[in-house]
Symmetry: C3
Subunit: 333 residues, 3 copies
């Protein structure tokens, strides 16, 4: 494996093999297959799960990690091209990234969407530029528009729960959040569910439709697997027969990058908070609740759901470690 | 071993076996008994010795650690139960802790006393709640009222120095410090010395008596080992015949949680700073000086003591590593 | 090897042996020679390359590191001697350093020049004091006046590029930088090039001559190897026949420690930014560009040089890892 930057770069057979390998790794207590190997972790945005799960993954495999963040350089890292560096930043990403990569066997990079321009974010230019600075395998730890580590982990979670592929109903619902969040999770998650052959419904208020580029990509995946993609604002129809309710929030796509207008638009839907009433009348049993975390309790979802039997959010997070170990083994083993 | 959260959970024989094992580990140069094992370290308060000694311990045993602190999550970790998370914090400890635990083989947690209510701190509720979120072994890295890693290390230091058990005189003295510090170190230290069978004197100004709950617990330990517990404000009597003078500071127990009144009360005793005059007339020779660190030079104790022959503070700190390795080996080996 | 604090402590034969060992380590993919060994890294100033290259080095050799910085202690680490610690800092370096050292097999320390007094910085007192607190091998990660890890790495880079020793021309040029930087890099770099037998020219504006102590030390090295040291402000003469142009910036030595005057003095030379015109008429081919990083693009050097064929700055940085592994192997193997 060269890079792991987009789950769509892999065939369904390859994804399934990675998950089977993750299942085997989950059963083993000691592994030293990556003895002395070094994974660099560059976080241009904060992280808790991704950081710690990769650190744990490499220790378990006998290697190790080092972490870089802009705060480590004097006054931060400059990222703009062609700039005269007479301001605060004392170091440019064009030296920092190749140098860091030269110490490591692979590098993971997190650079989430700047959320100023929808077009730019959909192009994922920033992530591609960072990737071009590295001559070692790159792991995408969340870019403007992809989060393959989360998607692979969620795929394994669906397998763990024996959720049907064909005929399985996967609802991704927008929920209220005080901030305008990126599109990487909803976009990559529905693509993952479609790639698995599921019937995917995106439930969201008006003004929050996922962009055509994201839907087209998911529909292409669905067309190859017998799945389907639907968008709706009708909660009852959406949830009817659902096996999975996956909650997440994202920026208004109508007012993308316009924070005051986005704030106003989302404020009208502050009652989009998942609680047990959402599951009334769902005939599938059990219907699980998923979320990529972090989650705001009482805002995105009520405590009784998160702490109840439907919730598999900790399992999702734990599967990050097993699936990442599987990817690392392919990449560096 | 399941958890290591209170030294009182272990019999004296068990403690002594842990120390003998620590002595053996101290002699060995290479050990890989915990190859590929992962220790999570959750610090809700800053740390230097505890953090680095656990990191070194796990490297020496062939495994590794990862560290989590509230700063790592976006805008910190929410800790209150049942709260609607529409403020700054984007993540709740109720997800963060189980997720972190799911990546690790054991977890160490530091959550020192909030110091608002004496009753609450004595109950150690916060630490128990955090512990209840983990289904892997938990190490207490200092809770409101316990610091078993420090106590086990100090016990080993007393053995290293061949301080008598029966008939050994152990003085824990309050010293001035500009801040109102927690009760975990004094409370756990006198319990440790009493468990070792020593005659313990708590030397402190009026208004700074250790609470009844702490004294009762130490007296119970003393009653089983032939030791004793005394509190006094009389320095000459207290130090007569002492083998150990252990210095530390704590909040006024009369004005616990009332910072302005505490500040005023402690300010009257700013001359409680250990110097060589304290040791005049002590017949036991040598009489060692102990402190759990960090220590404020010239405020809690004078430089000539810390840099002189009585001081074993670096030895105490180093024994943290050896005794923690011993605990980790029992827990994860 | 006891300490690695000054390249001048080693004979040229010893340096060359370390580089040959580094070359061998560069070729190997897995090494576990320092299994379970612990390197402490104390950074009193920020770091990116030094930190990550040492972390990677220890992982590759089978051991590990832990990192300490003043921010980790409550309100920072006190460094002054004899002070009454009634201010913010809760911990003194006189306890912190020996304790940290007691957990490790070796300790690396970064304490760059305070830049208040030229005389004090040239004496390197602060670094010597820190070193005196440790009873384990010490690695100098940049002191007031030495940076042996960078020098050893640069020496290897010159070997990698087959730059001639006798008759090789090495130009160290001052370049503009908005801040008054320390003398460690220029001073140690010209000493390294002289020790290698090269003809060294220091190119700098008036008011920025390197101090007599630094020149004398480099001249002594040159006298033993057949090299030479020249200082000039004449760019054309300096660059004629150069094999290497090594750029760096440093404080005005005329106004050392006087920041406003230094600022004014350096401001007059803001056009000292390396571009391709500097290399016109240089007959040696190729003439490489070196820099210890971090570098300010468009200020110290233009993008077309850094991104062009002359630049070996990433190679220099990567060699940090291989040469440090070589030193660690001698020190701890």
């Amino acid at each position: 494996m060269k890079d792991f930057c987009d789950l769509a770069d892999f065939s369904i057979e390859e994804v399934e093999r990675l998950i089977i390998q993750a299942n085997k790794l989950e059963q083993r207590s000691s592994m030293q297959m990556l003895q002395g190997k070094v994974l660099a972790l560059l976080f241009l945005n904060p992280s808790l799960r991704t950081l710690t799960s990769f650190q744990a993954s490499m220790i378990r495999l006998g290697g190790g990690t080092f972490v870089i963040s802009p705060e480590m350089s004097i006054h931060g890292l400059e990222t703009r091209s062609g700039v005269v560096m007479d301001g605060a930043a004392a170091e440019h990403i064009r030296e920092a990234v190749p140098v860091i990569a030269s110490y490591a066997d692979a590098i993971g990079i997190r650079a989430i969407a700047p959320r100023n321009s929808l077009e730019d974010d959909l192009q994922d230019e920033y992530s591609k530029e960072l990737r071009s600075l590295c001559d070692i395998p790159v792991l995408n730890l969340e870019s403007s528009i992809r989060h393959p580590c989360q998607s692979l982990s969620d795929w394994k979670t669906l397998e763990d729960l024996s959720i049907p592929k064909q005929g399985g109903k996967f609802v991704f619902t927008w929920v209220y959040h005080p901030e305008a969040l990126p599109l990487a999770i909803p976009g990559d998650t529905i693509h993952m569910a479609a790639s698995r052959g599921m019937d995917v419904t995106v439930l969201r208020p008006d003004g929050f439709s996922l962009p055509k580029e994201i839907i087209d990509r998911a529909e292409l995946a669905a067309s190859l697997t017998g799945g389907s993609i639907t968008q709706t604002n009708d909660r009852n129809n959406a949830l009817e027969g659902a096996h999975i309710v996956y909650a997440g929030s994202w920026s208004s796509t109508t007012f993308y990058g316009d924070y005051p207008k986005d704030q106003k638009a989302r404020g009208e839907y502050s009652d989009w908070c998942v609680d047990e009433t959402w599951f009334k009348g769902i005939t599938s049993d059990p219907c699980y609740f998923m979320h990529a975390l972090p989650v705001r309790r009482g805002v995105e979802v009520e405590d009784h759901i998160l702490d109840g039997a439907r919730s598999v959010v900790v399992r999702q997070a734990q599967n990050r470690m097993f699936t990442q170990m599987s990817v690392l083994l392919d990449m560096l083993g």
